[in-house]
Symmetry: C2
Subunit: 205 residues, 2 copies
């Protein structure tokens, strides 16, 4: 692989000997596996293949590194949540969400569970800003789903006793519960059971 991936070589001084995107991906893996606080700088630098001063020069500090890793996580691993909104019915949206969550959280060899759930749950008082960031991103994602369910309601997809907001809150609870189970060692088959059961109960008008 190439060491100097930067096409713009108008920079002065010694060029860096690692690829920042690749290092960030490695950092994401560590945070995803251990959580923000449990991931030590030694863990991170070891996985990223760089030294601590290089990390600080390239990413600022541990907290800034986490936020950038979270950006990468949303952009790559959570892309399915945006595709899901394009599904034709609310039921199909929900299924796309849940099956996508399984694929994201159960790829063998990779970290298990959801980085968002881990980060919102696992942080002590030190990582409050991490927790706040994750919760804010979740709220924005949830708002998009509520809007999609509003549209489905106007299309007459729900019975009268189901509101889009409540349905969204309910679906997110299932997704978060699946993340907890995936992080606790649940198998893909067990998670698929949850999805199938949820879909079997999905409201019809």
């Amino acid at each position: 692989m190439e060491s100097t991936a930067t096409a713009c070589s108008a920079v002065k001084g010694r060029p860096r000997e690692f690829c920042t995107e690749q290092a960030l991906a490695a950092a994401l893996g560590v945070f995803w596996t251990k959580g923000y606080e449990a991931a030590s700088m030694a863990d991170l630098t070891s996985a990223m293949g760089i030294t601590k001063p290089s990390l600080y020069a390239a990413f600022g500090n541990k907290e800034a590194l986490f936020h950038k890793a979270l950006d990468l996580y949303e952009a790559e691993k959570l892309a399915y949540t945006r595709e899901a909104l394009n599904q034709p019915t609310a039921r199909a949206v929900a299924e796309y969400f849940m099956r996508g969550a399984i694929n994201a959280q159960c790829n063998s060899g990779g970290p298990k569970g959801c980085l968002g759930v881990i980060s919102a749950t696992a942080c002590g008082s030190e990582g409050q800003s991490i927790k706040d960031d994750v919760i804010a991103r979740r709220a924005s994602s949830q708002a998009a789903l509520v809007e999609r369910f509003d549209q489905a309601q106007r299309a007459g997809e729900f019975p009268a006793n189901i509101t889009p907001q409540a349905l969204c809150q309910y679906l997110y609870a299932i997704l978060q519960g699946m993340a907890v189970q995936a992080g606790s060692g649940a198998t893909r088959a067990e998670l698929e059971q949850v999805v199938d059961t949820s879909l079997a109960m999905w409201p019809t008008r």
Copy 2:
């Protein structure tokens, strides 16, 4: 060596100046609020009102203290999960579980969320034995619910496409998702929305 038949309350030496049960309850509050790893010995001793050597003499070490706090948590805060199994129908069992979870996780002033979910999610490699303990307790609790749902199935409470095992896995996902949301600052009303929505979809034969 010495026979223990006689000495029961004739303790020698200086008596301890704190109540171990009260101190354990305080420790539970700290673990519940911050998680195992994020709870420092300084946090614990401060909340318990004792010094570190007293803690070590009375409880062993941090890990042993956590396991005892988890015992207390199960005995007191999770008592509703055992009462739930006595409800007449599977639907009533599920409702008892979910309403009980709200009461346990949203009592104002107390810690939010579920200690089991926090501990299973938040622990790095250091607290692997904590994680294992929590997961094992969850499995045993889940087995009891599956058995109860088996009984409900024999009573003809479910449609054909719903199995007791899958329904239990699904209900636990909702409960865990509610715990995640409670730990992220969800209001009681939002959690009640999840419960009401779940019950609106509960399978009928």
